[in-house]
Amino acid sequence: MKTLTTLIITLILSQTLWAKSKETIFVEAESFSNTGGWVIDQQFINEMGSPYLMAHGMGIPVKDAETIVKFPKTGKYYLFVRTKDWAAQWSDAEAPGRFQVLINGKPVNKTFGTEKNDWDWIKGGEVEITQKETSIALHDLSGFNGRCDALIFSADPEFNPVNELNALTAYRHKMLGIPDKPKNAGTYDFVVVGGGMGGVCAAISAARLGVKVALIQNRPVLGGNNSSEVRVHLGARIKQDPWPNLGNLVNEIGPERGGNAQPKDYYEDDKKLKAVLAEKNITLFLNCNADGVEMEGNKIAAVTAQSIITGERFIFKAPLFADCTGDGTIGVLAGADFMQGRESRDVFGEPTAPEVSDNLTMGASVQWFSNKKEKPAPFPDIKWGIEMNEEKSHALTRGDWDWETGMGVDQTKDFERVRDYGMLVVFSNWSYIKNHSSVKDKFANEQLQWVAFIAGKRETRRLVGDYVLNENDLRNHTVYPDGTAPTTWTMDLHYPHPENAELFPDAPFRSIAKHIEIYPYPIPFRCLYSKNVDNLLMAGRHISVSHVALGTTRLMRTIGMMGEVIGMAASVCKKENTTPRGIYNNYFAQMEKLMDKGVGDTSLPNKQTYNLGGTLKK
């Protein structure tokens, strides 16, 4: 039996990745052997080139991150640190994310995180290295999200690091000795990318039906938005007509308690992990970010990925893939057709669609909460935030789903700005409430306990399938013979909160929801595979639906059931040696029989009874 340690290939090298050319040494921050209180953030690799370390202390400086670097020789080096002043785009005041580099415990004479509003190499000046094995540490000064991608020590006074993304990646690989050819991570029947509810259920479902699966997830935990990193509770209904046995799997792995932005244990990360580890047919790759594909004609032959800790590269081969990234990343890499923004009314004749198409998507959320302490808990009176006053601020102890921003921004390309703004408003608001508000006495003992640094997304790209589900299908309950997971939540679309948008016209951060109730509606199988990439299934918020229809399909219990369904499809593809479209055309009866049974445990009581949402069935 595989043990836990061999099963979770977390791809951590025992030693920090640091690398040297003759006189230059490259140190990846995320590879530090002890990351202390700093978190690894991989959300923006495609924007800035790498995972990085961030001091997410909510105003309290975090513990040092530290590693030992081996130098080829002692002596004088020039230090470069890749970082940025993340709030500079909104404020000229002193930068929030300040930190120092410590060499053998002594700070270099320079404070980092104070300049450049985009990622760049900042000169740290001359440093003296007196031992071949030297401790290098990142020392946080503020607790407000200082960040460091990498450090370079060069003995060459003329040295100038590259910053252009492609050149930098090539340089990184060269310096770290990462070969051009990725390591073979194995050949599977089915490779699932993304470990949110969709990916986890797809992997388990396929595995239970005898399919050999690799599950690739770019975080240390499973669950995606339902993990303790984002803290969104599951919504919508399982066990619905016409497939009342779909969803037992969601019930097996889903948390028993509801609530957004609640304490960590509400989200039961372990339950999902254990469920995956219990399947002998699944090999789990945590901390592994998929970033490339190899194609053979219209088919994906392999997916490549990078460890977010060591930078090592891997290749996964299979006849069938599932994109469960939420962003349709694998599809887009493979050239799949996709949609983004709102379709105009004439595209599908949807009553709720705008006359003219636009780029409005729903936003992303940085949720948060505070806890009451025994003693007063001061919070810095920050100057780098956005301006707040009685009218603009919110005297709350929790930021729920309706703290939402970035609508209309391309959240696949400019997401660091969206996430950072999400954090900025939380800190700005809190600082005002704690230090200036008329109710500040009431908040004296409240301490900011948790602010997400992994922003929760709702909508980016939607991949085009053989069918695009739209509002009219849902409103008129026009069901199709290839119906699968029933979607039950209302068509729930978000818009900027009118008052907040008036107060913050450039970037509102509160939202409202508008709902249209529907009958439980089985999502056509043709929405769960790409139209032009022949071996790509999908489950998540990026399936083939219109912007309006996404209002209902993006709920995570529904997405879990989509996962269950595409896991079944993987088993039929394997058995009949066919493609997803082949299933639709020739073998759908087998799918119907599988959906009739479901793959979950039918004997468990239904614990998925919170956050069901309205439905017309009642």
Binding site: D241, P242, L616
Partner: protein, 370 residues
């Protein structure tokens, strides 16, 4: 208007009001009510439910006198009111008794707003505390005094309950929505009569339709066949499927029902059709419906096709021989790939029939049979 006229008109109005009052009193008085059943609350309080009737024999709803102790924090006090449900056990409203108004923590009387909140809560089928245990409703917070603890309602339910009466809310909701709802449904079924069923069908409510169609006996189904057919043709969601899953087998097997499905079946959604097909296996008696089935065979492989093929292979003796030709012709025209079991069944089907054997030959030629 002079004074006399005013007083006389006032008197007339007064008389009218009295007549009105007494007549409504009369209706109430004449209307029958009878003890229906008892149930135990989660706190083991025995509650008697009374069935209410209009026009003597038509059930119109239920009521119960609810008297239950509730403890908020450390003080316990009785809660006393009357609950009303409809014939499906759906909570309708409550009434309080004069002089016995509800109270909150520290014996503060309910305000108007509290009564409204209670009403709203009791009418909500899925309150936030639905799955919570009683002990999860409040968090213990330390009071300023030594050893003193007080409960603070947890944030998730705060907006739906009354501060200082959280346990009353919880207890009363569970009485209104607990075991009683199912007991009422069962009791109502015992009182089904023509008038009540008619009234229920006429309500047009989807929940009522679900309830009715899973509880009617064969005779009642035949009596209300037009109503059922109407629901099948016009209902939304998955009601049609549910009805076809639930109807007694005798109804499904009857030729009258099957003939009525000739025009309805093609307009049913895929899932309702599938339920009907599942029920028709071995019981297809209507040639007309058989023709509709044969013609609905589709080129794409689906369970729908498999079921139709099964129906024809299992029904041989009962149907018009010509129908089999139509069926086999459809398989040919739509080029349906038959799996091993289906191929065997088709061979068995045509075994003793020369004409049908020709179709098998053609199917073989096209490579559709294994």
């Amino acid at each position: 208007m002079n004074k006399n006229k005013l007083t006389s008109s006032m008197i007339i109005t007064l008389i009218a009001v009295i007549i009105l009052l007494s007549s409504s009193f009369d209706i109430r008085f004449i209307n029958k009510s009878e003890p229906a059943f008892h149930f135990l609350t989660e706190d083991s309080i025995n509650i008697e439910v009374i069935a209410l009737f209009e026009q003597d024999s038509v059930l119109s709803g239920y009521k119960a006198y609810v008297f239950s102790p509730v403890c908020e924090d450390t003080t316990c006090y009785p809660v006393e009111l009357e609950f009303y449900w409809d014939v499906l056990g759906r909570f309708q409203r409550y009434e309080i008794f004069p002089g016995r108004e509800l109270t909150k923590l520290d014996h503060k009387p309910f305000t108007d707003a509290d009564y409204k909140t209670l009403s709203k809560l009791l009418l909500n089928n899925e309150p936030a505390f639905l799955e919570m245990k009683r002990e999860d409703l409040v968090v213990k917070v330390k009071k300023d005094t030594v050893d003193g603890y007080t409960g603070a309602t947890i944030a998730a339910i705060k907006n739906e309950v009354i501060a200082g009466a959280v346990y009353s809310c919880y207890t009363l909701w569970h009485i209104a929505h607990g075991i009683v709802a199912d007991s009422i449904k069962n009791h109502t079924q015992k009182h089904f009569n023509q008038e009540l069923l008619k009234k229920l069908f006429d309500s047009g409510e989807i929940e009522v339709a679900y309830y009715l169609t899973s509880r009617l006996n064969e005779d009642q189904c035949f009596t209300f066949l037009p109503e059922i057919q109407k629901l099948l043709s016009e209902s939304g969601g998955f009601l049609a499927q549910h009805i076809l899953d639930q109807l007694p087998q005798k109804v499904i097997s009857s030729e009258s029902f099957q003939n009525s499905m000739v025009s309805i079946m093609p307009n049913l959604d895929y899932y309702a059709q599938k339920s009907l097909l599942q029920r028709l296996d071995g019981t297809l008696t209507s040639d007309k419906l058989g023709k509709v089935l044969a013609e609905s065979i589709e080129p794409r492989g689906s369970l729908h096709n498999e079921l139709i093929i099964e129906i024809f292979c299992d029904n041989k003796s009962q149907l018009d021989p010509e129908l089999y030709q139509t069926f086999l012709q459809q398989l040919l025209t739509k080029q349906v790939m038959l799996n091993k079991i289906q191929s065997e069944n088709i061979k068995e089907l045509v075994k003793n029939d020369k004409q049908l054997k020709v179709y098998l030959k053609n199917l073989k030629q096209k490579g559709l049979v294994q």
